[in-house]
């Protein structure tokens, strides 16, 4: 055979050997065997909990921001006992011999079930306040919804509580137990929970509905930052060729932005959306991280805004007043009003403060900027307008004796599927000079959003009691 081709054969073998070496090098790197170099060493990113051997380990525990145990140690192979079995259920998740792990237990299975030097898992310090969480959870009784409180200055999540059924509480301690609620004695609790439609959804982070009129605060920001904060509108009760009407069919006459927010005038904001144009409105919503996935330390927060650059006036107008192609979660609403309270800076929410194992911190978090949602001037102006809202709702009357600045916006979203409405109230509260973003929501209801005012009062009461 031709000898000159011999070199090509040799080259081919050499290239193959090099590729094999490359494959093994990359594999070694990605396993993280060479410690601290592997890319998968970030806590909470591990997804393969099936392979964790839970039978020989004592499950690690969760503690709240004050060091109170949310879960307590038990024995090897047994789930840790939740001391707040319902209020923290959607956050910490279950440890089931049948279903496996969910929630934070699933996200942080390595940290909870693989101790560094012994057979005991680590301790995860959460940012939440157990007392606040428990008290806010009790406010949700009789409804499906959530209450979400975020420290807008740092991003710490103070409370994130959810309820999937008005009267059936999600108890993680009972997940594998035989259910005594139903007549079928063989049914276990997880099977019972499974039979309730939408039960497993963590309502705080569930993004499936429009935010309703709470989105008007973002449209208001867009108006202010684009020099249209002084927009005056002659409202006749309909807009965009009759496709947009106000609640109750009211016509408010000549109104400005403050009045439009106070009365939540759909037509004003629909016209505002068209005046701003898609490019400017979309930019503002994108600055508030709407339409972008946000990678948090316990979930990926999703939202959506019209993706196309060409939208009709109707869609544009609908987006502007909180319907249309806009979808965001209650937590995101809390983050948005928090950003307005925080001079336009949106901090990245986080739930995990620190992870400790064998008394050594293995992971400590630092606050992180998520987005400069708007400039301070625009934020403060809208904050003033939302404060006017709070007065309009009567909230300020309750709290004027405290040194507590309040901003608020209600919202009612129409949802498809004959499930009623999804109602919200977004609150911005300053306690001891620290701004908090809050969102209370209730799903599948026939009530209007103003019915949440009482819950808002109770929420602020609890926060003032615990944080002041």
């Amino acid at each position: 055979m031709e000898q000159r081709n011999k070199k090509y054969v040799s080259m081919f073998v050499a290239i193959t050997c090099s590729l094999v070496f490359l494959v093994m090098s990359v594999s070694t790197y990605k396993t993280g065997i060479i410690s601290d170099i592997g890319p998968n060493s970030d806590p909470g990113k591990y997804k393969n909990c099936d392979i964790i051997n839970r039978s020989d380990t004592i499950e690690g525990i969760f503690v709240d921001s004050k060091g109170n145990e949310i879960t307590s140690y038990t024995t090897s192979g047994e789930p840790a006992l939740s001391n707040y079995p319902e209020s923290f259920s959607y956050l910490i998740g279950y440890n089931s011999s049948v279903l496996g792990l969910s929630g934070l237990r699933g996200n942080y299975c390595r940290e909870l079930f693989e101790g560094e030097n012994d057979k005991t898992g680590g301790t995860i310090h959460l940012t939440t306040n157990a007392s606040i969480q428990e008290r806010l959870y009790n406010l949700l009784e009789g409804s499906i919804g959530s209450i979400n409180v975020v420290n807008a200055n740092t991003g710490e999540i103070v409370a994130l509580t959810s309820r999937g059924d008005p009267y059936v509480g999600y108890n993680v301690n009972l997940i594998d137990d035989v259910c005594e609620i139903t007549e079928n004695k063989e049914q276990r609790y997880f099977e019972y929970y499974n039979s309730i439609d939408g039960f497993w959804h963590n309502r705080s982070i569930l993004a499936e509905d429009p935010p309703g009129s709470t989105a008007k605060m973002i449209t208001a920001v867009s108006l202010v930052e684009n020099g249209k904060g002084d927009m005056i509108y002659d409202d006749i009760g309909v807009e965009l060729d009759g496709t947009v009407i106000n609640y109750g069919g009211y016509a408010y006459g000549t109104v400005n932005l403050e009045s439009a927010l106070n009365n939540s005038i759909n037509t004003y904001f629909a016209r505002a959306g068209v005046e701003l144009g898609n490019e400017r409105l979309k930019r503002t919503f994108n600055n508030f991280m709407i339409g972008r996935d946000i990678e948090l330390d316990f979930t990926t927060l999703k939202s959506s805004y019209s993706n196309s650059n060409q939208v009709s006036d109707y869609v544009l107008g609908s987006n502007a007043f909180g319907q249309g192609e806009l979808i965001m979660s209650p937590l995101h609403i809390a983050m948005s009003i928090g950003a307005i309270m925080n001079e336009g800076t949106m901090m990245k929410p986080y739930l995990i403060n620190q992870i400790v194992d064998d008394e050594k911190p293995v992971y400590t978090v630092t606050s992180e900027l998520l987005s400069e949602a708007t400039d301070a001037t625009s934020a403060n102006e809208v904050k003033r307008l939302l404060h006017s809202n709070a007065e309009y709702y009567g909230l300020y009357d309750y709290f004027s004796k405290y040194d507590c600045y309040i901003a608020a916006k209600t919202g009612t979203a129409e949802v498809s599927g004959n499930k009623g409405f999804h109602i919200y109230i977004a609150l911005g509260v300053e306690i001891n000079g620290v701004p908090y973003g809050i969102c209370i929501d209730q799903a599948n209801t026939q009530d209007v959003s103003s019915t949440l005012i009482n819950k808002a009062i109770d929420t602020i009461d609890i926060l003032l009691d615990e944080l002041k």
Partner: protein
Amino acid sequence: MNNLKIMNSLKTMTNNIVDYYKETFTNYGSNLKQVKWKNFCYQVALNLLICLSYAVFCALKEGSGNLYMSVFIPIFLVNNLILLYASLNNSSYKFSTLIIFLLTTGTALKIFMMPSFEPSSVSEAQKNIITILFGILASISVTPLIKYCSMENNVGKKSVYLFLILTIVLYFFALIFGKEKYGTKAWVEIGPLEFQLTEVTKLLAIVISVFIIKCEQISENDKSILALVLLCIHTFFLFLLNELGTLCVIILTVFSFRVIFVEQKKYVIRETTYFFVLIIVSITLCYGVYRISTGNITLQETNNVQVELPNDSDETEENGLASLDSSESLINEIIDRIALIYPKIENRVIAFIDPENAPEKYVGQIERAEDALMFTTFFGTPSGLLSSVPEIASDFVFIYLLVRLGLVGASLVLVVLILMLAEVAVEYGNPSVDRGEYMMAFIFVSSIVIQALICSCSNIGLFPVVGLTFPFLGHGSTTLYVNLFMTIFIISFLQKNIVKEEVINGTTK
């Protein structure tokens, strides 16, 4: 007159093949008398050592102590067939031992495959052993035919065209009668048997590549054009059938082979250039067809790039074209499949270069595979189900190999493949080697190594996921049959060279 000529030439060819078979089996008889049984026993002992090592590994690591009789003794017995065949051919035992190692590794991995299998998949391992047995026997039967064709002067122009036509016929057969499975339409049922037709066409592509170079009746220019036509045929049909993995193997193997063995490199450069220009033009045309078929549906930008497919996107792609009415004409089906080519390629490319903007289903399995890597140690991780990693038995079997056998085990497997390549490559320096047989053996071992590298690279994120399994280790009977056929051929190829080398060195035994 012409018919008579054809009949006569067919008769001559058949007689030649029959004579060659007779000669082969006569050689087996005479080689059997010359077998050094001591060497043979050493190899059998080595085979036993490999099988028992895996049995002990499974007992210690996996906790299953009773697999000696049900799995590892049977695979030991089947492996001995390969050693026996090597003896009959007076062939090198080195290559046979390397194959035995791979087959035993593949069998051992199948014992604890998941998630679609039972937790103890002894039956899967046993089925694998039966497949290997039939594969070896079938390959031994067919190998003399291919060897005859590989020899110099035994391949005519008409044979090349015949094989090309056969390839096209098989592809149309797959298009018309094929079954949608695992997102491709490469599966064909004949009675109780089901096999992946694209594996057969892959083998044909490789064989035809050798024939094209060997055939002296075709000019160099025409050979180059034929090679280009060969690649275009496979590219077109494999795109239609959504077999991107097989296509990658064929393109890389054929190009590498032609770069090495074609004398005048200008033809290789020319056909490479033409081929890639054709690919770009074709993808552009596919994009056009896609846009026309989707009508008003637009590509969603940013965030998660969801490329809308005709009909219902996710279901359509996952089930292949299950939504198509079976009574639609073949032309309509081809047009619909052409419309699907662009989004499929785009989604996979985006998942590779920009995972954050790729649809979750393309990125999720890669992320979970990378997470599984966290449990890789030097010598393997015991038990537990890797149920979070999809397609762990086929597309992501390299991840499974890394986790179960550790970095050491996976390195060993890759080194074995390199040694197989080297075993064949070194024969280049042997002046007595038949050029045709050498090329056939070389391209066979190259295709196995290239497939292994593509699979391992895609598993660890160095290459887009194209749905290719690791040779000998992954799930798939047809793939195993084809790989066994190639390795049996190589074993028989290594035979003549040993004999001739010893004669040349004056050490005839």
